[in-house]
Symmetry: C2
Subunit: 339 residues, 2 copies
């Protein structure tokens, strides 16, 4: 392919607070040649997810940071265009982790073949991919909602939150969602069927949440932190479970302590008095359960009980701006770049 | 018994911060007469435990507060002296929850007969009672220490902490204790056999703890809070488990937020990045496991692998002062009043 160039988006510098377009750099490079045992992949879809903000920092975490000058990482759906690997043929569609670029090599490890007849291939990055699995595993393994219990989740129109609420309802629990703005709230209530939805921009947000949870909160699926946590905290019931999968409101700034009682001391007091469970997790630790997830979620989608919305942005070069929008809550549904 | 009077210690007023002797009132009352189906108990030993501080407050918790003017509650070992109940005879020794008094009626519910030949009867309030069971259940059910892991516990010479460290070692883990003063530290290291012990009064306490935990902390059994938590927190490993059974440093004052980063935000960030589990509990929720505990702990005591120390104070009237000492860490071993 002498005329075709690879396009890659690199981490140019580490952000302070909210990332800016200057933290990224787009470069053109030659399309690489697969060696023996390798494949050349053409990326079709790139997933953009809040966790990527953490990879931009040079801090200890459950995953290594992206190096300065390296390709931004990310989950991708790709087509095999050349293969020197016995298990893959040109035309195969695979789930890979090829990052923010048009072409990538693979040695076949950590690839999963996708069947385009089963579901739109982009769903492998959303409702049937990492976000859907995060929702399923965190809610069922840690949250363990029982029939009649109240489950609260924020970013309820997003990739993870939308699945959390719907799966809670499938378990017989009551789902209360939190979203930003009337359009997202209407979607969560009317399309996803949550029992109640609250706009976190409302001035009386905390009171509205309390009114929507008359029997308290049994499971709070934490993916945002900040003011939502403050409103949820006093409503937690005895033995409430709090799977913590994200803290998007905190990724770009570390809040300073406020005057008044030490919130950490208040938290620990209630952990003790209410026998609370707070459990951080990443979906990877539940990897052995992925086949069960794919079977269950696939069936729920087929039955119309698990719906999803994708926010597809066209063009790899728009990934940095779309990612910054994501961190500011401006996407609507699972954000995917059509490369 | 015409000459004998009952002696009772009542809650006279609710404390603000650390209790004072004025919060208690000692009264003489007639010894009650058992009705049909009732027993009259003579209290031999009264257990004093940090959780009782919570019962003195008028705040929502997992247990109802003691009413003003009511007898302070507490676990007791008692002798049946009159019985109008078919299952108990005079002379029987029982574990009861009769509170801070010399005589009490019982309808036979929530009593457990003790065999004085098996172990000293006071141990039913300590290593074989609620504190021992709290240690066993919290450590094994929530902490789940694995061989080679590091377990940290404070108040390590106390009723719960001493059992936590020894049971951790029986599981093959490394036990690091925290205690106050050279005498308690020597006991924890030399008598209880902890792998390391740190004096929390040392000016370089946090550094000493870090040095004693070169591979980080996998289980922190939380029973004190405050400065111990601050030293433990940065040492927690990925997937660390934190059973929370008490916060004795916080019972008497709610700390004000300090300037600087919001400790709650820092906590939640690490919960997420390290996949931490924080789980408040009370031993009652594990009640079904008590027979297993009694079997295991009884055997460990017999084998000399689970040691205990009692701090026996003579005279019911000394209970208020002894309880205040307990909250200030001045007891040494499981505090029991010999009534």
């Amino acid at each position: 392919m002498p005329d075709v160039q690879n396009q890659q988006i690199l981490l140019a510098s580490r952000p302070t607070g909210m990332p800016t377009p200057e933290n990224f750099r787009i470069v053109q490079t030659p399309v690489p040649e697969p060696a023996d045992g390798q494949l050349l992949l053409e990326i079709l879809y790139l997933s953009l997810d809040p966790y990527m903000r953490g990879r931009m920092d040079d801090a200890k975490s459950y995953a290594r940071p992206v190096e300065i000058g390296a390709v931004m990482e990310g989950g991708t759906v790709a087509r095999v265009i050349r293969s020197r690997h016995s298990e893959y043929a040109p035309g195969d569609i695979v789930l890979s982790h090829s990052g923010w670029q048009r072409y990538a090599l693979s040695d076949g490890e950590n690839l999963r073949k996708l069947d385009p007849a089963l579901a739109p291939i982009s769903t492998a990055l959303g409702v049937l991919g990492m976000p859907g699995f995060t929702a399923w595993a965190g809610l069922l393994q840690i949250g363990q909602p029982k029939p009649g219990e109240t489950v609260v989740v924020a970013a309820a129109s997003g990739a993870v939150g939308s699945a959390v609420g719907q799966i809670a309802r499938i378990q017989g629990a009551r789902a209360v969602g939190i979203a930003g703005g009337p359009e997202k709230c209407a979607f969560v209530r009317d399309e996803l069927g949550f029992d109640a939805v609250i706009d976190h921009r409302a001035p009386d947000f905390a009171q509205q949440l309390a009114d929507a949870c008359p029997k308290g909160i049994d499971v709070y699926f934490e993916n945002v932190g900040g003011q939502v946590w403050d409103a949820v905290f006093p409503l937690l019931n005895d033995f409430a479970r709090i799977p913590v999968c994200g803290l998007i409101s905190q990724y770009n700034a570390l809040p300073q302590a406020e005057p008044g009682p030490d919130k950490l001391a208040l938290l620990m007091r209630d952990v003790l008095k209410k026998s609370l469970t707070i459990r951080g997790f990443i979906q990877r630790e539940f990897a052995a359960l992925r086949p069960s997830f794919l079977r269950e979620a696939g069936q729920w989608i087929e039955e119309g009980r698990l719906r999803y919305r994708e926010d597809i942005v066209d063009g790899l070069e728009r990934a940095p701006a779309a990612f910054i929008d994501l961190l500011q809550g401006r996407n609507f549904g699972k954000l995917v770049i059509k490369v």
